[in-house]
Symmetry: C2
Subunit: 355 residues, 2 copies
């Protein structure tokens, strides 16, 4: 399986992506990595690989892309001036079929815009939605979407998100009837934003989807749903606040065990347990967000992730390729729309007024 990697995105620079890619190859030698970035920088990173990872280099192919899309670049600017960037060239490699999937830790808005132009969309979806799995109680996980780029969305877009999340949870995670919920400010059907109330009505009309109604913020982590749908502003705020809170709590756990000499002693004994705990809370565990609705597979890795996190994002990429997610989305969404037209053409995703 060939994977195109934008080596230049992310706060930790190409070191994290190159080391992460190399360790993924060591784990799974069937991978071939196409690395995009300024050639000399890539060569430098390859030459600095720790000895146990050197064997991976025969599966890593370097492609020169002299420019880098910065975190602050607007999507429109990336579209106009980004052709020579590592991100754009990585996506061309996916578009041409030379790689089955692309992965980047870079600027999310630019990645969405460039991906959409390079790969196109499926089934009338106007723009990609972003989704990632977050850990829930009882060792579960839950997809949250959208996560960042679709703000002020209509009911039809929320319904799209729900259907795409449903298809992903069913095909990628093998959940027979994923529980779908809409994030709202109350569990009653009378409270909330107009678009959310309307999406609730639309989702109740759609057959064959295990739609469970509204969920409040605390329901996400309680494991009450497999897919939680909201607009990109809300999803982004919830995800980032959760990351910040988890970091704060882990620090407090550590501080608690360092506060007094008695605690310090216990802390020493408790170190293995605390380490396990920290790993469990580590957001990296589920690194690798999906750009849903593209006619190709692109994985967004967290901008602050390290090599281990990037490795995890590559695993997510392999998983989505092996389940052929875009074809599933295309087939199922188109089928739903044709059924709905036959049934009387009520307002449904892809046919709604905001397209």
């Amino acid at each position: 399986m060939r994977i195109a990697v934008d080596a230049m995105g992310g706060d930790k620079g190409p070191r994290a992506t190159v080391v992460g890619a190399a360790s993924a190859v060591i784990e799974d030698p069937s991978l071939e990595i196409q690395l995009f970035g300024p050639l000399q920088q890539l060569k430098d990173e390859i030459s600095r690989l720790p000895r146990p990872l050197v064997a991976a280099t025969s599966h890593m192919h370097l492609w020169d892309a002299p420019e880098v899309i910065s975190q602050s670049m607007r999507p429109s600017e990336a579209l106009r001036n980004g052709e020579a960037s590592s991100m754009a060239r990585m996506l061309e490699c996916v578009a041409s079929g030379d790689a089955a999937v692309g992965v980047s830790s870079g600027n999310t808005g630019a990645l969405m815009a460039l991906s959409r132009r390079a790969l196109g969309m499926v089934a009338g979806i106007p723009r990609p939605a972003i989704s990632t799995a977050i850990p829930t109680r009882n060792d579960g996980r839950c997809y949250l979407l959208d996560l960042g780029a679709n703000v002020d969305v209509s009911a039809a877009r929320l319904t799209d998100f729900a259907l795409m999340g449903e298809i992903m949870a069913r095909h990628v995670d093998g959940i027979a009837a994923p529980r779908i919920a809409l994030l709202n400010v109350g569990a009653e059907s009378t409270k909330g934003a107009a678009s959310v109330l309307q999406a609730d009505v639309e989702l109740r009309r759609i057959s064959g989807v295990n739609y469970c109604g509204f969920i409040e913020g605390d329901g996400i982590f309680a494991g009450e749903a497999d897919v939680v749908v909201c607009d990109g502003f809300v999803g982004n705020a919830v995800l980032k606040a959760s990351e910040g809170l988890a970091r704060m709590l882990v620090q407090r756990v550590q501080a608690t065990f360092e506060a007094h000499w008695g605690s310090r002693l216990v802390g020493l004994l408790a170190r293995p347990a605390l380490k396990r705990l920290k790993n469990e809370l580590d957001p990296v565990r589920y690194n690798g967000a999906s750009l849903l609705g593209l006619a190709g597979i692109v994985i967004k890795s967290h901008g602050s992730c390290d090599a281990a996190g990037f490795h995890y994002a590559l695993k997510r990429a392999v998983q989505e390729v092996s389940r052929d997610l875009p074809s599933r989305l295309e087939a199922e969404l188109v089928h739903r729309r044709s059924v709905s037209s036959l049934a009387g053409g009520q307002s449904l995703p892809g046919q709604a007024a905001d397209r």
Copy 2:
């Protein structure tokens, strides 16, 4: 100081409110509590008070309110049919001046609507905003608003929230120049919802406010601001998700120390440290949300809180009364508006198109 208490709101029934109120009185015997609820139920709870709290009963006055506003009741229904409810009668007591502040754990939307009708608003604020303090890194705290009832708000409303939060942090918490931030999906001024981008422009124009620009979700817990402003949908989702995550993490900490016999032994030794930690993470610590913009003081206690949490909400009530928050809001907001009219009458809160 006289405090009117709606004894009937909250998931734990009148037990939590009556016990919480009694323990507040034991701690501060200058308090006089006006308890509202079905008389017989109140009497039953009073008669069941544990012995150390019995002395409080001479400071607790029972008022019959035969009806209860349920969690599912719509605000419009509460306005129409709620006169005989414990919530409405508690608010009448505040409106008539028989109590300095009212406290309820009940239906938030109903509380907002009934409070607004009973007490009126200050300085052209159309509806109350809800704010609560949340713990941040380095033992700090941060006010988040709005938290539940104002969805789909305009830039002018977000600016209102910012100014009200600023005044509260300055007067109630004694912070000389509170750092104010707008929650957004990116720190750059080009990304985000239109209302948030416009509020950013408005806040930059206002002199004498320490406005720090945009903040992302993780910045809330990092302690980057003293007041974080967002619409009620986003604030509610972030707050509830955070509560859910904190609960999940505390459970995992406990589970980690119970998983293996080695850990269990350590867990036994670590118990005092874990207990301290649990108290630190306890959302109850900061129970008591403010309904800002009312021409009177009303505190919303968390629906799921126990007696200790309700006690904390009463302390918050005392604090707001002693700082006379509504008068500060009225004086400062009216002053700002007159200054801004003299300066050329640009669009400012209270004068904006959506009023």
